[in-house]
Amino acid sequence: MKNILGITLGIMTALGGFVDLGQIVFTTQAGALFGYQLMWAIALGTAAIIIYMEMCGRVAVVAKEPVFAVVHTRLGKKLGLAALIASNLLNLITCAAEIGGIAILLHLLTGWPEKLLLVATTLALGMMVLLFRFQWIERTLGLSGLMMIVFAVSAVTLHPDWGQLAHGLIPKVSEPDTKHTLLYWYFAVGIFSAMLMEYEVHFYSSGAIEEDWTPKDLAENFMVAALGSLLGSLLTVGLLALGVILFLPRAIFPQTLSTAVFSGAFPFAQKALIAAIAGCLACLAGATVETALSGGYNVCQFFNLKWGKNVPPKSAPVFTGTWVAMFTLAMVIALTGVRPLQLVNISIVFGMVVMPFTYYPVLRTASDKNVMGKHVNRKFDDVIGGVVLVFVTIAALAAIPLMVLTHSGRP
């Protein structure tokens, strides 16, 4: 039973991590524009996040060093601090976007005013983090996020072209002009980035320590990382397929969260629509909590201060103060009326830019025999991790130029 419940860390990390607001809309848009052609980006992102999530969990358990302690050690104080500031800025923007997305979903569910829902959401999630133990936060949000399965069921019910879907696993650029080629790469980088968002590994590695994992749990670490990510990936494929089946033939480019949501319940009746909204709500709530807590984890781990969701809030004042500040500032940003999708677009692109500064130190530490002992990376892990890091770096260099050239992915 403990093992089964342990998987919820992976499920929450993956659902809140890469099936968040950005991925829900971004992937549906990618399907609506390019059919199944970007399936390979989902496959690559899934492999990459499994490899690095497992590595982060292993480093956290064996070396007792979560991600930002590793960043400090490997990048040094100055560069590490720059990475910390950039990462927490991105966490804040993502948190604001997700809270805005939750308010939209609750408005669709209840019809109540969006701004009121925004404040209520922030308070409710803040109270949840304050009162619940870490394990109960992950179980509640991870398991309720499973309602997102309605998206995959909808996609299967609408009979996707499995042959085309499989063909999409092979990258090929056959766009009619430069504009479409740039858009293709913008969406490829966006999907890849959304699946590897740094806060996933900040949260996952800290979660492994919160849950008191020991080296005996390393087999479970791989299973949790792999199963959680595969589930998230399956749902992402479902979103892509819905974009292909429902929107591509009608020349629709989904521009709102509400559009992506109704695609998830399209073949069914009202109850499925409510399940789709509830599933999205759980994923967005997961992402909100992950980004806010990651803000606190990162600061405390970098400066070697006491942290932990399971220690009394007064014993870890910087940690508590930081996540409370993250929630509060995110709410203020969302209340200004800035569009959540605009925020999430920025966070996906800039997240990609900062990504090498998170994943490179993790790879270095996992390969260091002095730190990891018998749990050091095998040659195979190093090669695969290195290849992924090369892809991450190329995508990081391309992200901003692609954003500018495509006007943030506008067809």
Partner: protein
């Protein structure tokens, strides 16, 4: 370190600038706006069918129409704040007319989502708006 942070902040500002619309609309941007308007019209048509089949909850139907209307208003404002490149005045004029028609249609059905006849009529209007946008697109 400060250089790194300044570089990141500069990139951020550049990205925000890239998100904002330019004042003079190029042919490519006009085509992009046309596609966006056509997409919104097609989506509304599709959604009205969904509502007519009683598959959307009342709050969802109302809320989604609000978000579509907001999207149309945003595009319409962008268009109004920009001026067309030389030779594209006619296409932009047609596009503005269709955005106005689209906005009016969505405003009119907001309170009539349970009126079958009104939804059927709105669908027909949306199809003709889409056709007009197609014609405008082929004239660029």
């Amino acid at each position: 370190m400060f250089k790194a942070i300044a570089g990141f902040a500069l990139g951020f500002i550049l990205a925000l600038c890239a998100c904002s619309r330019q004042k003079t609309l190029t042919t490519d941007e006009i085509r992009s706006q046309l596609l966006s308007a056509k997409s919104l019209a097609a989506e509304t048509e599709m959604f009205l069918d969904y509502v007519r089949e009683n598959r959307a909850t009342k709050h969802y139907a109302q809320g989604h129409i609000e978000y579509l209307t907001e999207e149309i208003e945003r595009s319409r404002e962008e268009l109004q704040e920009s001026s067309p490149a030389q030779g594209e005045e006619d296409a932009v004029r047609k596009l503005r007319t269709q955005f106005d028609a689209l906005q009016a249609e969505l405003h009119s059905i907001r309170g009539k989502l349970d009126d079958e006849a009104a939804l059927a009529a709105a669908k027909e209007h949306l199809a003709s708006i889409r056709q007009a946008l197609d014609e405008a697109n082929s004239s660029i």
